[in-house]
């Protein structure tokens, strides 16, 4: 507990009422209300992409942006520059010196899920989120996880579940467990800032789940 307190006070702006939040059990409504951010907003991310073809998981750094309520932009800074724009059910991937490529989100259910959950999370739209997922909150207001289990058949075919890790009003990490293949992890906000210093995969896992109530 002191460790958590330390982390919390060091990183979070939410430390205003740590004493109370640390003990109050969390519920989905509270989380969604806290996470809501009106557009435009932006947040840094660090993502780990594992594949059987790769010697080591790929570490991608960049920024998620939400310039308007209907658009989500994923701008990769390192190890290369690439911008993905999700809008109207379509993804557009733009790379330096290449014509942008487009594809439908329906072909990549996990991505559709990401956008839907991100959008719903950031707008605090619980109804929309519950249309696509069964929500299971755990932990306290200060340290929580929210498991999103897909309801739609198509999404169920590729994604087992999505787990959000957060502290107070901060969403720190998203873990997507596909049905096949490796778990994909995205660290956000404070966790992403911390990840800039961490290098080992284990350290990143720790950062993602840091103090999670599971």
């Amino acid at each position: 507990m002191p460790m958590l307190m330390l982390l919390c006070s060091a990183v979070l702006p939410c430390a205003a009422a740590p004493e109370a939040d640390a003990v109050i059990p969390v519920d989905a409504g509270w989380i969604l209300q806290k996470l809501a951010r009106p557009a435009p907003m932006r947040t840094a991310f660090v993502e780990l992409r594992g594949s059987a073809m790769l010697k080591a998981p790929l570490r991608i750094e960049g920024e998620y942006r939400r310039p308007d309520p209907d658009t989500l932009v994923r701008a990769v800074r390192s190890p290369y520059a690439e911008t993905t724009t999700l809008r109207n059910g379509e993804a557009t991937i733009a790379r330096a010196g290449k014509a942008p490529r487009k594809f439908s989100l329906s072909r990549v259910p996990e991505l559709a899920g990401l956008q839907a959950s991100f959008g719903a999370l950031l707008s605090g739209d619980r109804a929309s989120l519950e249309k696509h997922y069964r929500l299971t909150p755990q932990g306290t207001r200060q340290q929580w996880t929210l498991v999103l289990a897909p309801l739609g058949a198509q999404m169920k075919g590729s994604v087992r579940d999505i787990t959000l890790y957060g502290r107070g009003a901060e969403l720190r990490c998203i873990e997507t467990r596909p049905l096949k293949g490796d778990l994909q992890r995205t660290l956000l906000a404070g966790a992403a800032n911390d990840a800039a210093k961490a290098s080992s995969a284990d350290a990143l896992v720790a950062l993602c789940r840091a103090g999670a109530a599971r």
């Binding site: 594949s51 790769l54 059910g89």
Partner: protein, 784 residues
């Protein structure tokens, strides 16, 4: 032949029913063997110019005529896209379609597993830049980014065997040359309101039943898919149009037929005060139709739909035969004696008409031969049944129409009519003047004008065609050669010139078989350029050393490249069963000792420029519309030549039958004048004449000949003239009713036939009355 003793009323009914039963049996037997073909080629004369040959080879076979274009609109884009995908997979599973495309990524399946290694022979990626270490390094760097991108899960399964993603590049390249924008993974129009699909039917474009099946399949699948949503389907394309027009023509013909039937029943019932007459009157007509159809079925494989339509029009004249028998029947005269006395006149009309149709047998056109057989068999059967069967069935003692007071009054009026002589010359001269001097084209060669597509359907077709980049249906480029491979090579050489035309906007896009199937020469060159397994392995090892990929990550790639390097060149036969086969089949036409490659064009702005470039590169720009018009013209000149001979034969036959020049003139003059009058009226009204007018003119002439022959037959006997007048009034009213209704139709084909015959019947009746009737000798009144 039946006994001449009159039968009892009951036996007459039994006999009539028996006749009907025989007809029904014959109808059943014929439908068992009847193969109606909509194939226009059967009805056209032999092709002579290359464009005509291609048109005849292409008619119903070409890529353009088999395409059905679809758009789905009315709801939000994701729903439209889902419906587009569902419709695509539903239709692709049906046997009616060779190809269904909606822009979806199904094209990845275009190459079946066994042909996958061939991607290295089909792709032009390595033509400009060989597959070397630098290229591999670049590609693998890009693949790392792909794995880190949101599309990773799409691409990852392809990577081990295809690190340069040639599969995706080929799938993209095989999209229609000028594909519409994609949204939600499927084609959408420019405004993004309509999901677009295109289907290629297996049935030929001019195969009405096949197109009907395809159109029905689309509607039924769409209705299932769109149930409960607000989305709407728009369907256009040559096949959809022919189905719609066929449906409209059938509906209108049915409506007209029903009014006709009621009208005829009322007319005959009124004329003869008997309910039996309409039935008895229909028997020879039904016999004629079945005899004609039966003869054609026996003598030809496959009956053309147009033969049946024209044939039934031409045998309409036999409806008159029983009327003469009815009107001349009177108490005290045996029906057999009645039939015998009418026979010389009836036989003269039938024989001269049949002899005239014989000329069609030598026209060299299959459709016209069928038409001749149909009409000769039909007219013959109707005449023989009227002479030898019908007398047994009719009431032997009806009232004598010579006793009709109303008729006598009419007749007295007619007797006072002048006998025109000089005025006829004037009429002929005026008619000829109008025919020659009326402005506007004399002949209508455009087949499409006969079956007009509604303007709004045409507009939506133009929009869809433009959006989908569908090929031009009028112009096509051709490359001829000895072998398929030769024309594929020629196509490859032509491509830079075509790209130039696209760059100068003379053309929006093009499609050719070499896009899907490179020539063997090109494939061999690509094989040679591929690195050997050892070299590729070494290159890969170097590149992988300092890359994030595992050293064995691309082993399947080595296997595929080696397989591609060793494989025999891909041929059209190897594509059998793949979606590519359909694309190639429409653009590469095999012949016995030659092959033709087609280049379909879309968004053609400058035909002259394209024709010039084509000529310079050994290709030829064909104008299919012009070819079809020249075919129609050739067809018509055959018909006209046959008709000229027919007219001479007819005159000769009538001359032999009547023997007196004055009588021959009296009989033939009304018919000839009527033909002039019909032409003058039509030309004066600005109507451009087509084949259907021509056929209707023949029918009108046949009717005129009969009217004149019967007026002539009546001789100078008053009673007989009255009976003849009754018969001819009934005949002409009947024909006038049927064809005036057709003239009111909205379908140009029906209108052409209807107006021509209606004018003809009127003119023939009046002229026959004025010219062919003989002066009455009142004294001979009592003689029967």
């Amino acid at each position: 032949m039946l006994s001449e003793r009159p039968l009892s009323a009951r036996s007459r009914i039994v006999l009539a029913l028996l006749w009907l039963a025989v007809l029904a049996l014959a109808a059943w037997a014929i439908t068992q063997r009847l193969q109606l073909s909509g194939d226009l080629r059967k009805f056209m004369p032999a092709a002579e110019t290359p464009a005509q040959k291609l048109l005849i080879d292409e008619l119903g076979e070409g890529p353009g005529s088999r395409l059905l274009l679809m758009s789905i609109s009315g709801t939000d884009a994701p729903t439209l896209a889902a419906q587009s995908q569902a419709l695509r997979s539903a239709l692709a599973a049906r046997p009616e379609f060779a190809l269904v495309a909606n822009g979806g990524d199904a094209s990845l399946d275009a190459i079946p597993e066994r042909l996958r290694p061939y991607r290295y022979l089909l792709t032009d990626t390595f033509d400009a830049r060989p597959l070397d270490e630098a290229l591999l390094r670049e590609e693998l760097d890009a693949r790392v980014q792909d794995l880190g991108s949101p599309a990773a899960s799409l691409i990852e399964p392809l990577l081990p065997s295809d690190p340069t993603l040639e599969t995706l590049k080929l799938a993209e390249r095989w999209q229609p040359a000028n594909a519409p924008q994609r949204s939600n993974d499927v084609w959408f129009d420019r405004t993004g309101d309509k999901a677009l699909l295109v289907a290629q039917t297996r049935a030929a474009g001019f195969d009405p039943t096949g197109q009907q099946a395809a159109v029905d399949a689309i509607h039924s699948d769409f209705n299932k898919i769109a149930a409960g949503t607000r989305s709407k389907l728009a369907l256009t394309g040559p096949g959809a149009f022919s189905v719609e027009i066929g449906g409209r023509t059938a509906a209108e013909a049915q409506w007209i037929g029903m009014v006709d039937t009621i009208g005829l029943i009322l007319l005959l019932g009124f004329a003869y005060r008997s309910w039996k007459m309409p039935i008895l009157g229909a028997l020879p007509l039904a016999t004629a139709g079945l005899a004609g159809l039966g003869a054609v079925v026996l003598l030809f494989d496959g009956v053309h739909g147009i033969t049946v339509a024209f044939g039934f029009t031409l045998i309409g004249v036999v409806q008159d035969y029983p009327i003469h028998l009815f009107s001349h029947q009177r108490p005290g005269m045996s029906p057999w004696a009645n039939a015998r006395s009418l026979w010389p006149t009836l036989a003269t009309g039938v024989a001269s008409t049949c002899i005239a149709y014989v000329t069609f047998l030598f026209s060299g056109v299959d459709g016209l031969k069928q038409l001749a057989v149909f009409t000769i068999a039909g007219l013959g059967a109707a005449a023989i049944s009227t002479r030898f069967l019908l007398p047994a069935l009719i009431d032997p003692a009806p009232r004598d129409f010579a006793d009709s007071r109303a008729l006598a009054k009419v007749w007295r009026g007619i007797a006072h009519l002048p006998r025109p002589k000089g005025s006829l010359v004037l009429v002929a001269v005026v008619a000829l003047g109008i025919i020659a001097l009326a402005p506007g084209r004399f002949w209508q060669n455009d087949l499409s004008k006969l079956t007009p597509v509604p303007a709004d359907a045409l507009a939506s077709d133009a929009v869809l065609r433009d959006e989908l980049g569908a090929p031009d249906v009028r112009y096509v480029l051709t490359l001829a050669g000895k072998t398929e491979d030769q024309v594929l090579q020629a196509s490859e050489r032509l491509r830079p010139a075509l790209d130039g035309l696209v760059a100068t906007r003379a053309l929006a896009g093009y499609d050719l078989a070499a896009r899907y199937l490179p020539s063997a020469q090109t494939q061999r060159a690509r094989q040679q350029a591929l690195p050997t397994r050892d070299r590729l392995q070494a290159m890969l090892a170097t590149v992988l050393e300092d890359s994030p990929f595992n050293s064995d990550a691309f082993d399947p790639f080595l296997v595929d490249v080696e397989a591609a390097k060793r494989a025999p060149a891909l041929t059209r036969a190897d594509l059998q069963g793949t979606p590519l086969a359909a694309s190639v089949a429409g653009l590469l036409l095999p012949g016995g000792d030659h092959a033709t490659a087609l280049v379909s064009l879309n968004g053609l702005q400058d035909p002259a420029a394209v024709a010039k470039v084509a000529m310079a590169n050994g290709a030829q720009l064909l104008d299919l519309k012009e070819a079809s018009e020249s075919l129609v013209a050739a067809y018509r000149s055959r018909v006209l030549a046959a008709l000229a001979v027919a007219a001479l034969l007819l005159t000769a036959t009538v001359w032999i039958a009547l023997r007196q020049p004055r009588r021959v003139l009296r009989v033939l003059l009304p018919m000839a004048l009527t033909t002039l009058l019909i032409l003058a009226v039509l030309r004066g009204l600005g109507v451009e004449l087509n084949l259907f007018h021509l056929v209707a003119l023949i029918l009108a002439a046949g009717l005129g000949l009969d009217y004149a022959l019967f007026f002539d037959h009546a001789g100078d006997d008053r009673a007989d003239q009255l009976r003849t007048l009754h018969a001819l009034i009934v005949c002409s009213l009947m024909t006038l009713l049927v064809f005036s209704l057709l003239a009111l139709s909205s379908i140009p084909v029906l209108r052409a036939i209807g107006s021509t015959v209606a004018i003809g019947v009127f003119a023939n009746f009046v002229l026959a009355l004025l010219i062919s009737r003989q002066p009455v000798v009142e004294a001979s009144d009592a003689v029967a």
